[in-house]
Structure formats: C-alpha cells, structure tokens
C-alpha cells in the first residue's frame, strides 16, 4: 500500500493525472482483488458538505464517535438482531424487508442479497408499513446508523422494525467471508 501511496504522491506533484482524486481503492491480498470506487462529496458531510458543522479550524479534528450501546444490552434488546438470527430468519422464509441505510458508494462496495437501498439521508417513512406481517430490518456499515433509523421509526409508532447488530461488517465476518469489507 505504501508503494501505491508513493506513486500517487509523485503523480500529484508531476500533474500527470488525478485519476485517484475522489476515489478509493480496495485491495484484498488473499484474493488478489483490486477494486476502485468513487468517493463523492457527501452533501451531509460535516466538513465538506452543504451545511458543515466544522466551519473553521477551531471546530476541526474531532473524532465523530457515536455513543455505543453496551454489547450486552444490545444482545438483550429484542429490536436488535444478530447476523446469525437474520440468516436463519431468511432461510426459514420469514417475511423480512431488508433495508440498507448506507450511502451510495458503500452500497456499491457490498450489499446483502435482496436488500433495498434507502440511504439514511433520504429515507421516507411513507414507504414503510407498520403491519406486523412483515419485519423491517435496517442495516448499515457497523450498526450505528441503522440503530438511529430504528429509533426514528419507533418514535413514529413502527414496532415491526429491527436493526442488524454490527451491520454488514458483522454479517461479512460471520456469514459471508468472501464479501468485500471496508
């Protein structure tokens, strides 16, 4: 990776192409797999988005840590489901609507089979039913955005929603090891 980094530095200095600017390269050494994806300006970005919260250097440098829900508590919460549970539920033919709340560039890297894409920034509640005949399972990268989405829906009276613990990353680790991770 250091070699690739030095090459990009030299290209930037020489002005011989800005192909990698705004791009992310993912390399898997075991699979010898290279893939390149676009990293767009996110309009919601705290730094370079349309309404940044980091407006000056004095606001900069903070790590955007989302407060963690203790893992024990998460396991015991009925509205938090594990990758294992999800796999079994899908295999058993349970009526599940899988909703991916990540952004488009993340959706392009990997996604769960059968999922619908509703980025958290654009999700519309009117597209979802409160009917218990169908369980809505939200997932994101590591389970934090999906949990926020879940809470939002719950406040509006949706009781048929769940959030995937650890997100697609936990799914990749436990269920689908060949899935690209980021």
């Amino acid at each position: 990776m250091g070699l690739l980094q030095s090459t990009e530095v030299l290209k930037l200095i020489l002005g011989t192409g800005s192909e990698m600017v705004g791009q992310l390269l993912l390399y898997d050494a075991l699979e010898v797999d290279f893939r390149k994806i676009h990293v767009p300006h996110e309009t919601t970005c705290q730094l370079c988005g349309l309404n940044p919260t980091i407006k000056a250097w004095s606001d900069a440098g903070k790590v955007p840590v989302i407060e963690e829900v203790g893992s024990d508590k998460r396991e015991n919460n009925a509205d938090q489901v594990s990758a294992q549970w999800l796999r079994e539920a899908l295999q058993n033919g349970k009526q599940i609507r899988l909703i991916d709340v990540r952004e488009s560039h993340e959706w392009d890297i990997c996604r769960l089979k059968g999922a619908e894409h509703h980025p958290v920034s654009k999700i519309q509640t009117e597209n979802f039913s409160k009917d218990f005949g169908e369980i809505i399972v939200f997932y994101c990268h590591r389970g934090l955005r999906s949990q926020r989405t879940l809470r939002f829906f719950q406040e509006l009276g949706y009781e048929n929603c769940r959030s995937l613990i650890g997100g697609i990353d936990a799914w990749a680790e436990a269920i689908e090891p060949e899935m690209p991770r980021y």
Binding site: G2, Q5, V21, Q23, V39, V65
Partner: protein
C-alpha cells in the same frame, strides 16, 4: 485536471550528477527534466513512520523529492522490523523519525528532512500541514486520520491516505476542493473501540 499543486521556482536546472541519477525519469515524457525539477522543489509530509510511512519515505527519497517531513512520536521496537523496512536492528530504541531519516538520507543525501518527533495534535497540525505540498497519511489511529483530513481540507492540500488491516488495504486521494469527497464523507462516524492496525 481541476487543480494543480503550485510549486514555484522551476528556473534552477539539474546538475550533471542529477541528470545521470534520474536518467530513467528524464526519459519518460510524463516526467522529463521539468518534472524532475518539480519533484526536487516539492515538499511532502509523511504522517507516521511505520508500515506505510517507511516505504513511502524510501521511494520518495529515491525518486528525488526535495523535502520530506516525517511525523512520529514512537521509538523503534523489535516487533516493528518485520514490516517497517525503514528501520533496522541497530536503531532499536531510537526515535522512528531519526531512524527513518537515517535510512532515507543514506539513499539520497541531497534530501532535506524535517523531523517532527511529537504527537500531531490540534495545536500543531494545521501549521505543520501548511508548509507542505502533499500530505501522506500513514497513521494507525482514527483521531490522527480525522485530524489530518481536516488540516488538509483547511490548508487545501491533496491528502494521499492509506491503511492496512490484516490482508486488506485501502488507498484514497482526498482533495475535496478539487474533486470528490473527504475522509469524513467516507467515514462519517466511527466506533469508540477504534480498530486500525497498520
């Protein structure tokens, strides 16, 4: 290309020795004498002198970059030597900045190296970043990554960022004022138990 790095004073020519040394560059139309002089006049900041920072330092020194800044506040330990190829047994216990500087100046004695052996923090980051043309993030932790991203954004410097986790690697070039997004676009949030080994 939407933006170029402003590197001034290209008037100075290359010496006979440099012509010989960089002949393989000079014969490439994408580099040539003008490109070689751009490299010579350029200043690159390497943040982290570990698994990524070592090869970056070695290659940039060999290629003829004029000035390198190296930021790291750690010392060389034996467990580093398996991958951090800029350090050697005799430098165990030495600051990583000093150890890497020694290796790279052995490759290229013309290179100017600025050693920053303190932790990169909010108080010093922007000031350090502003002095360089390209910023290379070779760090191994989230606080540094967000800090470097923000400093590069406010100083409007291109940021070449890489990371490695087990057998997987990532490389990105962020320059949001030129094109595309930034590290925060990619990772708007992170978990507290940050995992980011080099």
């Amino acid at each position: 290309m939407s933006q170029e790095i402003p590197i001034e004073n290209l008037s100075q020519g290359l010496s006979a020795e440099e012509v010989k040394r960089y002949s393989r560059h000079l014969s490439l139309s994408e580099v040539g004498p003008e490109g070689q002089q751009k490299l010579k006049k350029s200043k690159v900041l390497i943040i982290g002198a570990g698994g990524l920072g070592c090869p970056v330092g070695l290659y940039l020194a060999a290629a003829g970059v004029g000035q390198l800044g190296v930021v790291d506040h750690d010392v060389v330990e034996i467990s580093n030597l398996q991958r951090q190829i800029g350090h050697s047994e005799k430098n165990l216990g030495l600051r990583k900045t000093e150890s890497l500087a020694e290796t790279i100046t052995n490759i290229n004695s013309k290179l100017r190296v600025e050693l920053i052996s303190e932790k990169l923090q909010h108080i010093n980051a922007l000031q350090i970043v502003q002095k360089y043309d390209v910023i290379v993030d070779c760090s191994d932790n989230f606080p540094t990554r967000y800090l470097v991203n923000d400093a590069a954004f406010f100083a409007n410097k291109p940021l070449v960022s890489a990371s490695v986790h087990k057998f997987q690697g990532q490389l990105a070039v962020f320059w949001p004022k030129s094109k595309g997004g930034c590290y925060r676009c990619l990772y708007p949030t992170t978990l507290p138990e940050s995992m980011a080994p080099t």
